[in-house]
């Protein structure tokens, strides 16, 4: 009864409300994970050897690992870290992308330079760039965060640059110029409002990439110590115990990572519906 009533309400909502609801709900999940992971104290991650390799139960819903640590807490902590790395990487990447885009607008030499820079970075496999940068920064969490941060700006820069080139051909831009408006004024008043949607969407869509790459790098063993909870480390460690039948070590953390990625994709798609005028009628 109750359920059908709910679906009824859901159906009655218009698309805009529905989209907003999805966005806020999913965003809430993500924020809850991050806040939660902040409050997980080191003491709840300590070893408890008598409880080693326990399958999922009500006490440990994700089971325990070979040192008897609760996998749910570890996964949560790891996901929190992933999302933080993702957030940092998205913001840094967006800032780099925006700066490069507007630099490219200044003159054609800078434009070729930016274009060359994009091609250069895009031509090296992503993971390699991340590994190289993180090692050259001395490894550790710091290295991983910075490396993921400085390696995800290429696609967004390319989109923004194309957008700017198109806007540049509009008549009112030429008009503003002949009225003697400064470059800065034109950028602020004419360009920024038009590319803002792209910037916001771009930022959100970098998130899943950044998280996946953080997981890959820690999976390969770069950066963090093997006892620290990062989703990649948890997954690579779980591989060692699959032969003993401990499937829960890989299954739940892997599924959680997948869900987080899907949630970001969902937010991105729905935000586009709201913000992108060309998709407003879908």
């Amino acid at each position: 009864m109750n359920k059908s009533k709910n679906t009824y309400y859901f159906k009655k909502m218009n698309l805009r409300t529905k989209t907003l609801l999805i966005i806020s709900l999913t965003a809430l999940i993500l924020i809850a994970i991050v806040i939660n992971s902040f409050f997980i104290e080191a003491s709840s991650l300590t070893t408890n050897f008598p409880m080693r390799n326990m399958p999922p139960s009500f006490e440990h819903i994700f089971g325990t690992d070979w040192m008897g640590r609760d996998m749910f807490t570890r996964t949560l902590k790891g996901l929190g870290l992933s999302i933080q790395v993702g957030a940092f990487a998205s913001i840094v990447s967006t800032i780099i992308a925006v700066i490069l885009t507007f630099v490219s607008r200044l003159n054609k030499y800078l434009d070729s330079f930016v274009n060359w820079l994009i091609d250069l970075f895009a031509s090296i496999p992503h993971l390699l760039v991340i590994i190289l940068v993180s090692i050259s920064l001395g490894g550790g969490l710091f290295g991983v965060i910075i490396a993921v941060g400085v390696s995800h700006w290429t696609s967004l820069t390319r989109v923004l640059r194309a957008e700017i080139k198109q806007i540049n051909t509009f008549e009112y831009i030429a008009l503003s110029k002949s009225f003697g408006k400064s470059n800065l004024w034109i950028t602020g008043k004419h360009f920024l409002p038009l590319v803002l949607t792209q910037i916001i969407l771009g930022t959100i869509l970098i998130f899943p990439h950044a998280i996946m790459h953080e997981a890959s790098v820690t999976f390969l063993g770069f950066g963090l110590s093997p006892h620290e909870p990062a989703i990649g480390i948890i997954l690579s460690e779980s591989m060692k115990y699959l032969a003993t039948g401990a499937w829960w070590l890989a299954f739940f953390p892997g599924l959680s990572l997948l869900l987080i990625i899907l949630i970001f994709d969902l937010i991105g798609d729905n935000l586009r519906k709201l913000l992108d005028p060309t998709k407003a009628h879908e």
Partner: protein, 536 residues
């Protein structure tokens, strides 16, 4: 949207594959009964420089391909192998060995005293094999007699006669020998697939007791891969990490061997005064340089809890890193550990107090906090580091474990705690661990310990006949007033001896009552001469 379905599909496939391997992977592979397939050597692993004794192959273990002058029996006594007899001069500066006549290398050339002298001189040159620093040279007097001249009295040199396999002078080539070794041992080299396996076959002309197995394949599988191979019935014997020791494998039984291989944490003995080594490695740590911190850890850490947890119950307490079966072990090194009251007493005496109520003690504004580094590949060391860290926190000392590669550990080994593994059948290893003059060189004396009384005991031991010298070596641990054990200066936090867990096929008998004493790295092939097939 397409991308999402692809991701979901990929996950389903991966889970499917994993599930399938878990359900169908249990089939066993048929082998000829006189063939032996092993996955052992998880601690030593595949030798980087090949099977070349001059480059360090098998310096404490059975070399299989080569043979040594002397061998150790299961009760640690020495027996002649290539040697027919040997004599030691009274001043312990000259060792003379008569070798067996007419022993053949695998290429059918004859092994003479020249080959022995060549091998030892080359090994000294390379420096990668056993420590031959006390040897001036080795000379062949005639075809069957070789003379080792030392620059100083060294009673431990007798151990070096067990640790280097003899190579043929005529065909030895630096750099290529390791990939195609020729020796006089029980097994002939057939092929080495790098990263995978080495195949050996029986040497029918072997001068000693021949092993029963005609063909020996050593797979270079480590940790979980070795366990998986055991589970799939691909190997006759597999060495696994301690965390797998309590698993069950069909058709295999678990054999757990005691070892003298100890795990301990070096605690920098000197203060950090900005000094570095010639290579720029920083020396010293202001927290661990305080004797009270080191003693608090040594008395406060409960080693039994650590063994029950981190070592899965397979280990025994260690206070000085010297195995109880070794003739130079010292019973007086033992203390009552796990005594947090006593640990706190030490901290109090040293002026360490928790003034800001964060659970960690301080002294003059310095927090009792230091790092311990562990090899990130080694799960046992990881578990030890974490257990010590958790226990130390209860005492008020913050120990931060960090997993690193050995290259990274090298740069921090003199200024942080490091989880090491040590266990040698040669007492001169103590000299490398604690002698003040060797502080910080390579992997020698990483805590940069220096105590003139301890140095004196070691100097004395070198000058004393080997059997009498054990008394001097044991005084290194504790001589009634000082030493390296917890009652003395405690420059290390020794935790435990680790057992070596193997899964052995039920049709294989590895003759557990003749197993040699397992040093660091293990020596499972030490008694391969006694292994046989049995009805399961």
């Amino acid at each position: 949207m397409n991308k999402k379905y692809l991701i979901v599909l990929a996950v389903v496939i991966v889970i499917g594959i994993i599930g399938a391997t878990m359900f169908f992977g249990g089939s066993s592979v048929d082998r000829n009964p006189n063939e032996l397939v092993t996955a052992v050597g998880a601690h030593g692993g595949e030798p980087e420089t090949g099977f070349d004794p001059i480059q360090g192959w098998a310096s404490e273990t059975e070399p299989l391909v080569q043979s040594t002058l002397l061998k150790r029996t299961h009760n640690m006594s020495l027996k002649n192998d290539l040697a027919e007899s040997y004599s030691v001069d009274d001043d312990l500066k000259k060792y003379t060995v008569n070798i067996k006549n007419g022993v053949k290398f695998h290429d059918n050339t004859t092994l003479t005293a020249n080959d022995v002298a060549f091998t030892y001189n080359k090994a000294k040159e390379s420096g990668a094999a056993a420590d031959l620093s006390s040897m001036v040279n080795a000379t062949a007097i005639n075809d069957t007699t070789v003379e080792f001249t030392l620059n100083d009295s060294d009673s431990t040199f007798i151990n070096k006669l067990c640790s280097i396999g003899i190579v043929p002078e005529d065909s030895y080539e630096n750099g290529t020998y390791g990939e195609n070794p020729v020796g006089s041992g029980p097994y002939k080299f057939v092929q080495w697939d790098k990263g995978q396996q080495v195949i050996l076959e029986i040497n029918n002309d072997y001068y000693g007791d021949k092993p029963e197995f005609k063909k020996l394949t050593i797979l270079f599988l480590e940790n979980d891969a070795a366990f998986a191979a055991a589970k799939n019935g691909e190997v006759d014997i597999a060495e696994v990490p301690l965390s797998y020791a309590n698993e069950n494998v069909t058709n295999m039984s678990s054999v757990i061997l005691d070892s003298v291989d100890a795990r301990g944490i070096s605690l920098p003995f000197l203060n950090d005064t900005g000094n570095t080594t010639e290579d720029g490695i920083p020396i010293g740590n202001n927290v661990t340089a305080d004797e009270n911190i080191r003693k608090a850890l040594n008395y406060g850490i409960d080693r039994q809890t650590l063994i029950d947890g981190a070592l899965n119950g397979h280990g025994s307490k260690s206070f000085d890193g010297i195995g109880p079966v070794l003739p130079w072990s010292n019973n007086d090194s033992a203390i009552e550990d796990g005594d947090s009251e006593k640990a706190k007493q030490f901290l109090k005496e040293g002026g360490w107090e928790d003034s800001d109520n964060d659970g960690i003690v301080e002294k003059n504004g310095t927090k009792a906090s230091f790092k311990i580094l562990y090899d990130s590949e080694d799960t046992t060391r990881q578990a030890i580091a974490i257990s010590v860290s958790e226990q130390a926190k209860e005492l008020g000392i913050e120990v931060i474990p960090e997993g690193k590669s050995w290259d990274e550990i090298d740069n921090g080994k003199l200024s942080n705690g490091v989880v090491w593994g040590y266990g040698s059948l040669d007492p001169s290893s103590l000299y490398h661990q604690y002698y003040g003059g060797l502080a910080g060189q390579d992997y020698d004396n990483p805590s940069c310990y220096n105590n003139s009384a301890v140095n004196q005991h070691m100097a004395q031991a070198f000058k004393t006949d080997i059997n009498a010298s054990y008394a001097d070596w044991s005084q290194v641990s504790w001589d009634g007033s000082t030493g390296i054990s917890p009652k003395g200066d405690a420059p290390w936090l020794w935790t435990s001896f680790v057992d070596y867990p193997y899964f052995v096929d039920n049709t294989l008998d590895i003759s557990e009552n003749t197993t040699t004493v397992q040093p660091h790295g293990g020596d499972i092939f030490g008694n391969i001469y006694d292994w046989k097939r049995v009805e399961s």
